[in-house]
């Protein structure tokens, strides 16, 4: 009875304290996030024609398409492997499990530049470990789309797993065992019991991965070679345009990326309370 929301404060000092904290937090977030991000919007709308011009420049359009392809591919890969790895981590005992679980988080702590470098060292066409052999067999990885997908996948790797593992742990095995005792096969159990239970967490992880993948910059810069009209992505376009004194263009492209990432976050925020309600 009596949630925190209904608690009346009669103590004036406590009320003042509460308001001070509120104010500090709001000012901090406005200065650090809300105001800067809103400027991208206003700067874009100062001259809206640059925004529409974006879509008439074939190189930019190519970059946008490439961004979508790379992000989509890495999201698909991360979703499938994310589910598999989460199930492995939560439901099965195997040797090396204790090492694997912190390793999954590793990509969060590695500089995107280092990610790029590491991929170049292994898959680089000239003197990487596997690169020359792959290239001899007709597969160019570095400075090409496969390498870009790998870099993006690497960077966004932990997101799905991090969302799924706690939910899988909370759901427990009872329902799955019940399904199995009712005669459901492993695949049926997964599709009809496990998947619905982790649905929201999965969507949450996928949306976050999508945002992260669309916005990858550092690792792509190293891996893609940034070739105009071939391997340049949207984020690289922003840098290029800005450094070439095409500020309006840079802002317009940035605006597009901002819209997408903010949309992702809003979707995620809307999903989250639903998850709470189900509990």
């Amino acid at each position: 009875m009596g949630s925190g929301a209904g608690r009346a404060e009669r103590n004036p000092r406590a009320t003042a304290f509460r308001w001070t904290l509120r104010l500090v937090v709001v000012v901090y977030l406005v200065l650090l996030v809300a105001w800067p991000v809103s400027l991208v919007v206003t700067k874009t709308f100062e001259d809206f024609s640059t925004f529409t011009d974006l879509f008439s420049d074939p190189d930019t359009v190519h970059a946008l398409k490439l961004t979508v392809i790379v992000a989509a591919a890495s999201v698909v890969i991360n979703t499938v492997f994310g589910v598999v790895i989460s199930l492995l981590l939560v439901r099965y005992e195997f040797r090396g499990k204790r090492i694997l679980s912190p390793l999954i988080d590793l990509p969060m702590a590695v500089s995107p530049i280092v990610v790029g470098l590491s991929l170049v060292l292994v898959y680089g066409g000239r003197d990487g470990w596997f690169g020359p052999w792959l290239e001899a067999n007709g597969l160019q990885v570095i400075f090409a789309v496969p390498g870009m997908i790998m870099a993006t996948t690497f960077v966004a790797l932990p997101l799905v797993v991090r969302e799924l593992v706690p939910v899988l742990e909370e759901v427990g095995v009872e329902q799955e065992q019940a399904a199995a005792s009712l005669g459901a096969g492993p695949f049926q159990t997964f599709r009809r019991i496990t998947l619905p239970a982790i649905k929201w967490a999965l969507i949450y992880g996928v949306v976050l991965s999508l945002a992260r993948s669309l916005g990858e910059f550092g690792a792509l810069k190293v891996v893609s070679g940034n070739i105009l009209g071939e391997t340049r992505t949207a984020t690289l376009v922003v840098e290029e345009q800005y450094l070439n004194f095409n500020q309006a263009g840079a802002y317009a492209t940035a605006f597009l990326l901002t819209i997408v990432s903010v949309a992702c976050i809003v979707v995620v925020t809307i999903i989250r309370p639903k998850e709470d309600r189900e509990r």
Partner: protein, 247 residues
């Protein structure tokens, strides 16, 4: 496993192996190179500073989001996650538009060290908030009420009852924030100017080695960077265990 190895493990091992190809002298060269040393000092120093700010602000924000109720709170929730989803290059651009030469405010941090600070602050914002928030939500109100009915003031209750419960979360978030700051690259490209000896961070330094085809040198610096991240993550973990045990 195979897939994970090909994508993550082998490439990371490759960095350490390549770095060690240069032998100890490779590391020594990297560290004694004045420009590299300056970059590492700047990166680590700023990362510590930003982590410290985040410990205070992140905890405060989490507290307000969990314990206070006011209109527009959902909006703040969205703001917290934006740095996580916004492409880093765009993050740099938006910060430049508010704090750069064309700023509507009487500040200009472009190409200054403070630019590194602000950029780190932006990209690390969600970490402590998002690790502390669920723990605070789980924390039972009645424990704090018990302390208050025993005569503890709000502050004492926070320090002696609430804080010990959320310290593990703060430490975990701080480790993530630190690791993120140390490895940051994208948001600095446009904002800090990457001036050698002044605003150049380690990631930028590694990139320029790559662009100069000095992969061994790049790998050496990258290994050092990985080592620092690992060290800090382990230290925070130990620190948290000790603090919790002491109560």
């Amino acid at each position: 496993m195979m897939w994970f190895s090909l994508l993550v493990l082998i490439p990371l091992v490759a960095i350490v192996v390549t770095a060690s190809e240069g032998g100890w002298s490779g590391f020594a060269d990297a560290l004694t190179n004045e420009q590299t040393a300056a970059a590492i000092r700047l990166t680590v120093g700023m990362a510590f500073l930003v982590t410290a700010v985040n410990v205070v602000m992140g905890t405060t924000i989490a507290w307000v989001l969990v314990r206070d109720r006011f209109p527009g709170q959902r909006f703040l929730e969205v703001l917290i996650d934006i740095p996580f989803a916004l492409p880093t290059i765009v993050a740099g651009l938006v910060l430049l538009s508010l704090y750069g030469p064309d700023s509507p405010l009487p500040v200009d941090i472009a190409n200054k060290r403070s630019a590194v600070f602000v950029a780190f602050l932006f990209v690390t914002l969600p970490f402590i908030v998002r690790t502390v928030q669920p723990v605070l939500e789980e924390l039972e109100r009645d424990v704090e009420e018990a302390a208050m009915s025993l005569g503890a003031s709000r502050f004492t209750t926070f320090r002696r009852i609430t804080l010990p419960s959320i310290i593990p979360a703060i430490a975990a978030g701080a480790a993530l924030a630190f690791a993120r700051a140390v490895s940051e690259y994208g948001s600095l490209v446009l904002l800090s100017g990457n001036l050698p000896m002044k605003t150049e961070v380690t990631s930028v330094r590694i990139l320029s080695s790559i662009e100069n085809d000095n992969l061994v040198g790049a790998a050496a610096v990258a290994t050092i960077l990985l080592g620092i991240s690992l060290l800090v993550i382990v230290t925070f973990d130990l620190l948290q265990r000790r603090l919790v045990r002491r109560g």
